[in-house]
């Protein structure tokens, strides 16, 4: 089950991710994984592809952690990433 994060918790998580805290990313992943997966599935209609996009987004998050703004809405940010990745998919 996903866990609903408050805005303050989201900001704290992003801040910790930027500092390289993998556990913070794990918390974020657990909280939003289902949402990202369902969003990707609705766009792709393929479970495997949706799963791949989901993990790809979290990998991208980790690799680009220095650029993450603590003032960005995580939900919107993830939504945009799903969009980007599903548009380029055939």
């Amino acid at each position: 089950m996903s866990h609903k994060l408050s805005i303050a918790e989201e900001r704290l998580l992003l801040s910790r991710i930027r500092k390289g805290d993998i556990e913070a990313l794990e918390i974020l992943f657990i909280s939003y994984r289902q949402r990202v997966f369902l969003d990707a599935y609705l766009r792709l209609k393929d479970k495997a592809a949706a799963w791949s996009v989901t993990t790809e987004i979290y990998s991208w998050l980790w690799q680009h952690k220095p650029g993450l703004s603590p003032f960005t809405s995580i939900k919107l940010m993830l939504q945009e990433e799903v969009k980007k990745r599903t548009i380029v998919k055939p």
């Binding site: 657990i30 997966f37 479970k47 799963w51 980790w62």
Partner: protein, 385 residues
């Protein structure tokens, strides 16, 4: 109607992560727009039926995804280690590590050497090739394989290799005598400040020992395996089944006194075969001389009595160190190191000062003695302040 907005709100609704505000917005949209109701129903159907029936939780396996993320993290760390900076840092760390290891090893060796020096000639020791040693007066029971002792720690028996070493050196303290039973069962009665080196393999074909100091050896009869005693100055005693006394510090000479059986004595100048009750003595490069001896004098050390007729203080000091538990330093120039040739008797267990005060060397007023803070006895010229 904004389909994207409705889709995102329905997703939030499905995962149970919709805020009260968003839920109110969704309700309002659905009330105002019948098409939104159809769209919501389609989204829910897509995400809960068919391929997606009951798989929402399973499809995104947390463990699988987290493992993947952690692997990526490790890969990144490894990648960062491959950078030139990391290579230089790794090189520096390796060099530093090697230096510290060597320094620590040297420190340990130095510490071991200091410990050994402190114990040398103070306790009975069994030394090995790598510098390690066993204090034989502290062993108990049969805790060390192939090594045993009597309760008084006066008689040590060795029956085979110890700690994997093929050879060992037994060193006695000053003023103490011990009996050593070799692996091949020969017995060596060892005087104070004496070392005996021997093989630890009981089945070795050539029985060979080396002695520096004084010892009385009773060789276990075995005609198939010769017994050889290696001595200083390239000399040796070849034993043909016997008991005999060896003294490598008898008035500056090496002395082999035969009690029973037969031995052959060899040095650079030649060799002689000896009969019982005869003594052979020699110095470096000189021929071996043979004579009859008085067993009461030669073997008396085994009863704690040292009868000597030394002509120099340095030779006398060597005998004193075997009889008494003191290190003796002769601080007298070599040219003046001459004493009267009279018979002197030292008794093990008696006071060294008693011996010193009763001998002519002190009575003559030429020499004096003193003990320093480390209990080392110094003999000096009387006119030296």
């Amino acid at each position: 109607m904004d389909k994207e907005q409705i889709t995102q709100l329905v997703i939030d609704e499905l995962v149970g992560n919709i805020t009260p505000e968003d839920a109110a917005v969704l309700r309002q949209i659905l009330q105002d727009n019948p098409a939104a109701v159809i769209h919501r129903a389609n989204v829910i159907k897509l995400l809960t039926e068919g391929d997606m029936k009951g798989v929402r939780e399973e499809e995104v396996s947390i463990e699988r995804s987290l493992t993947k993320l952690k692997k990526q993290q490790i890969k990144r760390k490894i990648r960062s280690l491959r950078s030139p900076g990391a290579t230089i840092l790794l090189f520096l760390l390796t060099t530093l590590g090697a230096f510290l290891y060597k320094y620590r090893q040297q420190a340990n060796e130095s510490k071991d050497t200091m410990v050994l020096e402190a114990a040398m000639y103070k306790y009975p020791l069994l030394l090995f090739a790598d510098g390690s040693f066993i204090r034989l007066d502290t062993i108990s029971g049969n805790r060390i394989p192939h090594l045993s002792s009597d309760k008084q720690h006066r008689r040590f028996s060795i029956s085979g290799p110890i700690n994997g070493f093929p050879e060992a050196r037994f060193v006695t303290p000053r003023g103490e005598t011990y009996q050593l039973i070799l692996p091949e069962k020969s017995s060596v009665y060892v005087d104070g400040k004496t070392s005996v080196t021997f093989r630890l393999d009981p089945k070795i074909s050539l029985r060979e020992i080396a002695i520096s100091g004084q010892a009385f050896i009773t060789v276990a009869p075995d005609p198939t395996r010769p017994f050889i005693v290696e001595l200083p100055q390239k000399s040796r005693v070849r034993v043909l089944g016997t008991s005999f006394n060896i003294n490598t510090e008898e008035q500056g000479s090496i002395q082999a006194a035969l009690k029973t059986g037969k031995i052959q004595v060899e040095n650079e100048a030649g060799s002689i075969t000896m009969e019982p009750d005869s003594v052979a003595s020699w110095r470096k490069g000189t021929a071996i001389s043979k004579a009859k001896f008085n067993p009461d004098i030669i073997f008396s050390w085994q009863r704690g009595k040292y009868i000597c007729t030394e002509a120099t203080l340095r030779n006398l000091a060597r005998v004193m160190e075997r009889c008494f538990p003191y290190q003796v330093k002769v601080d007298v120039p070599q040219a003046q190191d001459q004493i009267d040739l009279v018979k002197r008797t030292m008794l093990r267990g008696s006071l060294i000062t008693h011996f010193l005060n009763s001998t002519v060397l002190i009575e003559s007023d030429r020499f004096k003695y003193s003990f320093d803070k480390d209990s080392i006895l110094h003999i000096t010229l009387n006119d030296v302040p």
